[in-house]
């Protein structure tokens, strides 16, 4: 699993690629918390579109970030993975818990409107 970041105004984009599972979930959690929670960004765009595998431990780490970002009074939005990894998110009804966008562009556009 690899994580990269990019700043876009108030939004921090965190891109995750590879397998998010029982082995990598802890690293994912620590890196996202360090990149975002320890920063001043108001909004986290968590881009999971390049996640190729997601199990319940990985899902738990994603849900945990939702909870912690919200608890910090900040926003989080998602770009989901494809395939069975998407099914895993859907089984947890993640779409009801967090705004989900098809792309980073869509997520950033919607964010700009929300601020306007």
């Amino acid at each position: 699993m690899q994580i990269t970041r990019e700043a876009k105004g108030e939004t921090l984009i965190v891109r995750v690629a590879g397998e998010l599972d029982v082995q990598s979930a802890g690293t994912f959690r620590d890196q996202v918390d360090e990149l975002f929670l320890a920063s001043d960004f108001g909004r986290l765009l968590l881009n999971l579109s390049r996640v190729t595998f997601l199990d319940s431990t990985g899902l738990g780490a994603v849900l945990g970030r939702l909870r912690r970002v919200r608890a910090a009074g900040r926003q989080i939005v998602l770009v989901p993975p494809a395939g069975v990894a998407r099914t895993v998110l859907d089984l947890a009804a993640l779409g009801r818990a967090v705004p989900i966008y098809r792309s980073e562009r869509a997520a950033l556009g919607e964010g700009a409107q929300a601020h306007g």
């Binding site: 599972d21 029982v22 082995q23 595998f53 319940s56 738990g60 069975v84 099914t87 895993v88 947890a92």
Partner: protein
């Protein structure tokens, strides 16, 4: 001699793998199970579902079976008719109440990130799930999965085209 992986061929094949209950081995087990199962005409999506199910079973061993440190985890797979049977076994602390543990969102973990959906995903992504556990002795998870497209009358190989060595991608 050319290898063929048509359904039925290699029916006597069998996978037995034993690893320590280390997180790194969840991937090893799910990939081994996926390659083994790919002898049947699973779609890529079905193979991915199987990988999640196996990962959940092994993940439970990694996270819960051996609180005192890594212990043994066994992965076994074989074919029965048009289905693949998979077993994941540990000899750890066991599950006191299997019925409760299989309920969605059940967890014994104190980790706030732990969602307790492992058995729910095993159930969702396989055709049958059986869990046998004895506290203090260990847990055996048995799963069965069959390709959705498997139909006895449309078995592959009748048109002379070699069966793929991996899962077939559906258009």
């Amino acid at each position: 001699m050319a290898e063929r992986h048509a359904p039925g061929a290699g029916a006597e094949n069998r996978l037995v793998l034993e690893v320590p209950s280390l997180a790194v081995n969840a991937e090893l087990c799910r990939v081994a199970a996926a390659i083994f199962a790919a002898a049947l005409p699973f779609t890529l999506g079905e193979i991915e579902q199987l990988k999640v199910a196996v990962s959940e079973a092994v993940g439970n061993c990694v996270l819960h079976a051996y609180p005192g440190g890594p212990g043994r985890v066994a992965l076994r797979a074989w074919f029965e008719g048009s289905a693949v049977q998979i077993e994941v076994e540990d000899w750890g602390r066991g599950i006191a109440d299997v019925a409760a543990a299989r309920q969605p969102a059940f967890t014994t973990s104190t980790d706030p990130d732990h969602v307790g959906l492992g058995f729910a995903f095993m159930e969702q992504f396989t055709e049958a799930l059986e869990v046998v556990s004895t506290p203090g002795r260990g847990t055996l998870v048995r799963m069965r999965k069959r390709p959705e497209q498997a139909r006895p009358s449309t078995a592959a190989g009748t048109d002379g085209e070699a069966a793929p060595t991996g899962p077939r991608r559906q258009p």
